[in-house]
Subunit: 324 residues, 2 copies
Amino acid sequence: MNNKIKVGIVGYGNLGRGVVSAIKQNEDIALEAVFTRREGLEIEGIKTVNIAKIADYKDIIDVMILCGGSATDLPEQGPMILEMFNTVDSFDTHANIPDYFSEMDSIGKTSGKLGLISVGWDPGLFSIMRLMGETILPEGKDYTFWGKGVSQGHSDAIRRIEGVKNAIQYTVPKEEALEKVRNGGNPELAVREKHSRLCYVVLEEGASKEKIEKEIKEMPNYFSDYDTEVNFISEEELKENHVGMPHGGFVIRTGLTGVGNREKIEFSLNLDSNPEFTSSVLVAYARGVYKMAKEGKTGAITVFDMPLGYLSNKSPEQLRKELL
Amino acid sequence: MNNKIKVGIVGYGNLGRGVVSAIKQNEDIALEAVFTRREGLEIEGIKTVNIAKIADYKDIIDVMILCGGSATDLPEQGPMILEMFNTVDSFDTHANIPDYFSEMDSIGKTSGKLGLISVGWDPGLFSIMRLMGETILPEGKDYTFWGKGVSQGHSDAIRRIEGVKNAIQYTVPKEEALEKVRNGGNPELAVREKHSRLCYVVLEEGASKEKIEKEIKEMPNYFSDYDTEVNFISEEELKENHVGMPHGGFVIRTGLTGVGNREKIEFSLNLDSNPEFTSSVLVAYARGVYKMAKEGKTGAITVFDMPLGYLSNKSPEQLRKELL
């Protein structure tokens, strides 16, 4: 334990549970404690600590993995925790990333700690692919498709409709659009052409299928711009077939080199568990933060700033020999 | 021109020509000269210089892109040129990478220059994917498939057979094996199961098809371990349909998270021109070498050591805003 990287988890939802699992797969990393606002949370074999006492761990924990949400948790916890610890988070409100980065950067530079923000698969691995794509094939275009996967926001929007007891919504990339993109030629694709929306809805007794289907399909922002399929199922069926959190997606860059040669770079993820995969990315990057912080780096960074070798427990010699 | 990164090209084969094209797509990079051993080489609009005079450009060129072969050119030119310039090369003799790295590292540290070795798509982008795969999904396995693409080594091996006038060989990944890998379960795949070999052969007059087909199929190391298909065609057909240099391949990592959730990361390239794409990678990384060298980094590095943001001409702010 003494030579291991000591990690803390802040927040114990799906992501926090995923981090617990991911740490078990990395023998050089040890989980010190889970920090939570919840009173009386007990997790077998793991120390839980009220977040109010987080400062007590200042000299014990090397990196805090922040597993709260981007809407309210991270904007508050990120800056507060970076005052005392190196951090990794998955802040994913794209429009607010520049502001969040600035704040974290200035705090980290003052506190002497390092905060890696917006890691996961998008933002994160997909961002890396977009960067590779446009730097290697400048005369080209990239496309991101998401899914097939559960969208919590869209599922929640359906659940708020009167007469709906429960619902789950899958975002589905359209195979036809994927093929168009893969064939090059940089097609312009409308929102409706890229993704469709697949809904499974459990009705309250006596609710009208027709009315609710219409209400879903016409919901602005969420559904009206998409081809939407609505299926009504029983609560049992929902519990049996739709409790997983699969997700994934594609980043495809097509471009030209020389006198018209077509080149294609495609990256895709196919995930049984979106939160567990995201957690696995967080843990690999926590190792990198530990190393960069040890070298004296402070402030905020993103996936664009860390050499990929830092993700690994292997020595540079070993990486060159085994993976290059 | 004055604010541009000034680049030189050493060697003017397929790769060197590709670098000329790639530089044209990057407005912050300017080609200063092509260095060659060939007497009297003229290239429209480009200065050509005998390699013996390379030292004259010591204070002019920021990064030299080495476009020679790994067998004899790079082991000699890499160390010689790194004495005077920052370098990028695509050294791809896997077994000799550790030694080549050591030599380049010690020379660069003495000369105060930076040499990025073994860049391209494999080694290079594929190496990055293997690293991502094993660090993010430690309980998993990765598979690399190459093709469909031309293998020069195998084409040459066929051409050396008596009675063969010309030949081209494609390495083809087996769709069945790809599917097995994508479905998870980490299959053990024999050499023969992963790739097949597709040959187009032009015979000398009077040569025996049967004899040559047998000789190809039984050739040790090159063909005997593979399912090999041999097609006899005319010289005209070869010139018409088989002059391109397509290539590509796949790196697939499958792994488990949590209590048995299956996750898959897949990266693939589909290239009309193998040398032009490789050149595009070299040019993007030449920009990164320029930046890291400016910050004082010396010695040898690989793709594992460079933060990906260095590949881009955009500012870190712009990258965070646009690509994250």
